[in-house]
């Protein structure tokens, strides 16, 4: 399914031989989430649901204020994966479940660990489990990604 990426000639940052199951990925600590960031993310993504941007609307909905877009948290995880691999191109699959709400004032830390390493159809695959947690350790989103890596040979 990945033959369409073969025309790309982007130098790899991570090679298959360097990856071991159980390896932890370099964590990413994001800056503290601000209300202004939620407004900026609303504009960038186009998701103007008022529960993310309007404090009164969030209160009226019983949330006690605004909550972050789940996709902002997944965006942090995308940034984290991109930093690890040197870019987005090796990624073939990336999915998360959203587990709890995030509010302005929280700091989100992304982490991950390699869970699988295998060859299939002449390509080298790795899989990792990933999570976005606040500094108290509450998980906001968790999931996994699959990537194709070159060998050194």
């Amino acid at each position: 399914m990945s033959t369409d990426f073969k025309a790309e000639s982007i130098p790899a940052r991570v090679f298959f031989e360097d990856v071991e199951v159980g390896q932890e990925l370099p964590p990413l600590t994001n800056p503290v989430i601000t209300h202004a960031q939620l407004v900026r993310y609303a504009g960038a993504s186009g998701d103007f649901n008022p529960i993310h941007t309007d404090v009164e609307a969030g209160k009226n909905f019983g949330l006690g204020g605004t909550i972050a877009h789940g996709m902002l948290i997944m965006g942090f995880l995308g940034h984290f994966i991109s930093d690890y691999l040197g870019g987005p191109t090796p990624v073939r699959k990336f999915g998360v479940r959203f587990l709890s709400m995030t509010r302005p004032g929280e700091t989100i830390v992304c982490s991950g660990v390699i869970t699988k390493k295998y060859e299939q159809d002449g390509q080298n695959f790795i899989e990792a489990s990933i999570a976005a947690k606040n500094t108290e350790g509450d998980t906001k989103a968790s999931g996994s990604f699959t990537a194709v890596l070159p060998g050194k040979a």
Binding site: P11, R40, D47, G75, H79, G87, F98, G143
Partner: protein, 155 residues
Amino acid sequence: MAMKREMIGKPLTPRKIEVTRAKIRELATATGDTNPIYHDVEEAQEAGYKDLAMPLTFPTTFNFWGSLPKDAVPEDLGMPKVGGLHGEEEYTYLAPIYPGDELTGVNRLVDVTEKQGRSGTMEFGTLETVYTNQHGQEVLKVKTVVIARTPNPAS
């Protein structure tokens, strides 16, 4: 309001998306990613990309900034307008996507399940969207789970 199970499997009207540099930069900035491959065309090309690279969650913008024909909006599937929860999101990347690409996205409701909780009913609707580029090549699949909550009547 209940999700419309009669819509399961039916492709909605395709919608068109133009991939633009400005939106890529904007999304990268909003998520705090300053990697030049998402911001500077020259640096991206020096790094081996044809143009700005596409951030992994950039396709979220296709939902909101793509042209939305009336019958492709989630309301027609019985999805909640406000207060729906985003349960899951999964991307399968099939081929590179670059600025200048013109994508066509087709949405389908593929599954609806229901769970009874203590406080009410929760419906889980799974949507799948397949994006094809201007050369007719499938480039991306997206799976989204939306959760709708209907509280029990106050007793």
